[in-house]
Every structure is written in C-alpha cells, then in structure tokens.
C-alpha cells in the first residue's frame, strides 16, 4: 500500500514525464477536471467544464443503442463534420455522476470517437460538442437499460 504523499509524487512524476516527452498536450497538463467529474447533473457538468449553455444540433451524429442488454457496458459513438469542434463530452443524465468522459481532438484526427460507458439505469445520454469559438452543441438519445439473466 502506498501513502497519499507517494501517490501524489508518483502522479506528478508521470505527468511531468509524459509532458517532457511531448505526449501530453498543454491543455491536459493541468490535472483531471475533478469538479466536472463530480457533477451530479447536466448543469453541474456544464458549469464544471466552464461551458456556455448547450444547444441541440442535428450536426452532431450520436449513436447509442435503443436498449442496453447490460448497463455495465453501453457502446456509444459521436461524430461531426462541423469545423471547429475541439472536444466531445459524454454525459449520462441519471448516473450517480453525470460526466463519463471528455475527448479532445487535434487537427490530425476526425472529430469522431466511439467508446463504452456504464449506465446505472434507463437515461438520456448526451454527446456534447465544444467548438473553438465557445459554442456548445449537443445531441441526445434515451437508452433503456434492461434487467437480464436470472437476477440471482
């Protein structure tokens, strides 16, 4: 078991190492956004990320299943061809904490990402796209989480 101090030192060392190797971009060298990840509502998260009010947009393509056979693993994907999108965040309205993850894109990649999230119950899931000019757009979908197996 390690002490808290050791852990912090190690974490800082990792960040420094990755930073020195040019692996971490300037934006994420500041640590993980604790405030945003502890948010318990969409508003909390938007505030935590320091964003403007999101506007629903058809330009964000958001893929999620209608029904999740297992809430422990829900495949989702978001993409957009809109220019200027720098980040995409995934939010689950009814999870204990709302923000699942934030992806940040350089010009070398498409603004398109797929991942898998956990859902505690049936909920709206949002893909929030953050543009370089401060605009915030989103698409959402309800995903039903079903009970499965013998339940024992």
């Amino acid at each position: 078991m390690q002490t808290r101090r050791e852990m912090m030192t190690r974490s800082a060392a990792v960040t420094l190492m990755l930073g020195a190797a040019g692996v971490l971009p300037a934006q994420t060298q500041s640590a993980w956004n604790k405030g945003a990840f502890e948010g318990k509502s969409i508003d909390d998260v938007i505030k935590g990320l320091g964003l403007a009010k999101p506007v629903e947009s058809k330009d964000i393509t958001f893929t999620a299943p209608d029904i999740a056979e297992n809430g422990a693993v829900v495949p989702i994907a978001a993409s957009t061809t809109l220019p200027g999108v720098k980040r995409i965040a995934f939010l689950v309205e009814k999870n204990p904490t709302t923000l699942a993850g934030v992806f940040e894109f350089s010009d070398a990649v498409e603004t398109s990402v797929a991942t898998r999230i956990k859902m505690a119950q049936t909920s709206n899931v949002l893909a929030v796209a953050i543009l370089g000019d401060g605009k915030v757009l989103y698409a959402q979908k309800e995903v039903k989480v079903t009970l499965g197996g013998c339940g024992g």
Binding site: T63, D66, V73
Partner: protein, 267 residues
C-alpha cells in the same frame, strides 16, 4: 477487432436492419446493441495474456507450458480445443481443457493442482487459467467440433453427461434441461440455446469461453457451469470435477460439426 470490417460499417448495418424501428422493438434493440459490441471483444486481452503465460517459464519448476499435451501432441495448441473433452492415457481420465491445463501446471510447472482447483474464480492462479483458456480456445476459432468418441471411456462420459443434464433436484426442481431443453426460449431477454440437440455454429457450447459484460471477466466452461449450478440452487460442483467434464462431453458431442467462435462476448 479480429474482424476487420470497420466498426462504423457494423454500426451502419445495425441501424439499417430491416424494420429496426418496427413492432418487435425489444428484440431488434438487443440485436442492435450486440452489433455495436461485435467489434472489440475484451476477451482479446485475455488471449494475449494467455499466450504470454503459455510461453513463459513459471511455477516451482520454472518451465513453460510448451511441453503440455492438450491431445494433439506436446505443445500443439491449434485444434486442441475443438477435440476436448477427450481421453488421456497418462491420467486415465476424460478431461476438458481446464482439467488438462491443471494437470500440465502440476506435472510440468510444479504447481499444486488441487490448490488451484480450490481457489475461488477470478483470484490467483485461477486468473491465469482463464487467460490460458482464452488463448487455447482462440487458437481453434472458426474450427468445427470433432470430439473423439472412439473409446468406451469417452462414450461413457457422454452417457453420464446426458443423465446429469436431465437430473432434476434441489428446492426449485431444476435440471439443465429446465432452461436448455427447448428451442426459442428466453430468460428475461437472453435466448437460451437448446442443448438437447446441436444448437448450431457459435451457439451454446460453441460460444464458450466468453467475455462476460456483466462482470467484465473471462469465463471458461468451468465457470459457466458453476454459475448454472448456482442458479439451479444445487450444491457446488468441484472445479474440473467429473460431473462438469461429463456435461461438457455431452454438450460438445451434441455440437459436433458446429463452428467454435470462442472466446465470444456475452451479456
């Protein structure tokens, strides 16, 4: 990830499914969910780990498993899984993959097989066994089951397995056949393979070992059967016990000629 069709195409296919929005919503929804997960089975992580473990010098004797005979000769992995359980002359037993691996770990690497068999799933050497099981089964992916039944010991294990399959007991009166005795049935939303006959390519016996989404672990047939018996409200079947090997023989012979997709991905 082994299938090289890009996930985007799979996603598109899932949504272009005829009548995706139509009346049978639930079944289509589940099919769409599974299609979205088809690419990128975390079982690959276990396959990779298992390959390392197979080749790594380990145990009190510090040797690899490359001298282990899974039925195709020492060190031959490809094609072994689809011919198990089978009779082994050195142990004079019909053995499934897990019990055979235990033998090799004891005889060659110097591990204590009984101790590993008694270790709870998902801990210690059991974790390594699961990786080995993923690796060995993956080496037969796409091959058809062809369990040997030439020896009387093998045929007797099939017959015993059949009897155990239909054996009803416990407070709920369940047998394996209670849930797996008829085609087209489900528990909740999960289809139940009919194991009284050949359920086909990649179904039932031909889909295990598998990555379980619910626990995020890789389950071999031993763990699959163990949890079936738990939910049957039976007492605890010993790891690699003859009852589990007999059942595996019964199911494997039923699946003769069907293609193994193991390790697959399951709810």
């Amino acid at each position: 990830m082994r299938r090289h069709a890009p996930a985007v195409a799979l996603v598109a296919a899932a949504f272009a499914w005829p009548g995706a929005q139509a009346q049978t919503g639930t079944a289509d929804g589940i099919a769409q969910y599974r299609a979205l997960l088809a690419d990128g089975n975390p079982a690959e992580l276990w396959e990779a780990k298992g390959e390392l473990l197979w080749k790594q010098k380990r145990g009190p004797k510090n040797v690899s498993l490359e001298g282990c005979d899974l039925g195709q000769g020492a060190g031959v992995v490809k094609g072994a899984f689809v011919e198990l359980p089978r009779y082994f002359a050195d142990t004079k037993r019909v053995q499934d993959l897990e019990s055979r691996l235990l033998n090799c770990m004891e005889a060659q690497q110097g591990f204590n097989a009984a101790e590993i068999a008694a270790t709870p799933f998902g801990r210690g050497e059991q974790l390594n066994l699961e990786a080995l099981v993923a690796y060995v089964s993956a080496a037969s992916r796409g091959m058809k089951f062809r369990l040997p039944q030439a020896r009387s010991e093998e045929r007797q294990m099939f017959e015993a397995g059949k009897r155990i399959f239909y054996f009803r007991a416990g407070p709920y009166d369940f047998s394996c056949a209670s849930c797996h005795g008829e085609a087209g049935k489900r528990i909740r939303l999960q289809e139940l393979p009919d194991l009284t006959r050949n359920p086909g390519d990649g179904v039932g016996y031909a889909a295990w070992p598998a990555y379980r989404l619910s626990s995020g672990e890789l389950w071999g047939m031993q763990r699959r059967l163990n949890d079936c018996y738990r939910q049957q409200r039976f007492p605890f079947p010993g790891y690699a016990s003859d009852a589990t090997i007999a059942l595996a023989t019964f199911m494997g012979v039923q699946s003769q000629g069907s293609v193994s997709i193991a390790p697959s991905i399951k709810r």
